[in-house]
């Protein structure tokens, strides 16, 4: 009886494979280049819009290797990437649509591969819930690179900002960037809208009361 070999012939594709992943947007220290930083394996390494994988463990073998966990990673479907984005430490990450190419290893839920081209960047919401329209310095980063955070204009304050389209231009290679749409009030029922308006009025009233008390204090100070 002949033994059946479990080894399958390598696949070959004449076009890149589509994938989805999370990353942190990065800006070079001189502000001339935009890149990305992984959220799991290789989170200390910054890659460009088109780049080749290297072994982040410091080995000089070709990446990805059978004996190592290095290489670019992505999911087959966008839902898996969105699921990962629910974890608290990944809430501020952006969603990348990538074209995977070169040598690859195909798994049930995704790929590990050697060459990557970022096609599009989808920016998450600002922490306040509004759509993010700019990127600001988080204060984190790695040598030569600053990590950026998607933020709305109301929360940006005095921090230096980078417009989303400026980030896409710096990334180059036709990378497109978009943000999430504003919350849609029409999804709320009538009762939900009434509750929301009551909450907004209470907030405004509290703000007015605060302003009035500060104004009174200033008026008393100037009179005395």
């Amino acid at each position: 009886m002949a033994w059946r070999s479990a080894r399958r012939a390598p696949e070959h594709s004449e076009q890149p494979l589509a994938g989805f992943k999370l990353a942190h947007p990065m800006l070079s220290a001189d502000g001339s280049r935009a890149g990305f930083c992984g959220v799991t394996v290789g989170r200390g390494h910054v890659y460009l819009a088109v780049d080749d994988a290297i072994c982040v463990q410091g080995s000089r073998h070709a990446s990805p290797s059978k004996w190592c966990d290095c290489g670019f990673y992505c999911f087959h479907d966008v839902a898996s990437a969105r699921d990962l984005a629910c974890e608290p430490e990944h809430r501020n990450a952006v969603l990348l649509e990538v074209a995977a190419s070169g040598r690859y290893r195909r798994y049930e839920r995704g790929l590990r591969y050697s060459r990557q081209r970022v096609r599009s960047v989808r920016v998450s919401r600002c922490d306040c819930g509004q759509p993010a329209t700019v990127l600001v310095d988080t204060g984190a980063g790695s040598t030569g690179w600053r990590q950026l955070l998607p933020t709305c204009l109301a929360c940006v304050g005095a921090r230096p900002r980078l417009e989303l389209q400026a980030f896409a231009r710096l990334a180059g290679h036709g990378v497109t960037i978009s943000g999430e749409a504003a919350p849609v009030d029409a999804d709320l029922s009538g009762a939900g809208q009434v509750a929301l308006l009551h909450a907004e009025m209470a907030l405004l009233q509290a703000r007015l009361d605060d302003l009035q008390s500060r104004l009174d204090a200033l008026t008393r100070g100037s009179d005395g």
Binding site: R8, P10, E11, H12, S13, E14, Q15, P16, L17, K21, T40, V41, L48, V50, D51, D52, R60, Y73, F75, L84, A99, A100, S101, G102, R103, Y104, R105, R106, Y107, E108, R109, G110, L111, R112, Y113, R115, Q116, R117, H173
Partner: protein, 44 residues
């Protein structure tokens, strides 16, 4: 990132990425240093 069980290996071509890929850095060749072991004189 948990990807599950490995199913296959392969190679995919992306002409756009190959045109734009950064040049592969050449590994500098370190000069080879020949060290001659001192030969102690042999006394007869």
């Amino acid at each position: 990132m948990q990807l599950g069980r490995k199913l296959a290996e392969g190679y995919a071509v992306d002409p756009e990425a190959e045109e734009a890929a950064p040049p592969v850095a050449e590994v500098p060749v370190e000069p080879r240093v020949e060290v001659e072991a001192p030969v102690e004189p042999v006394r007869a």
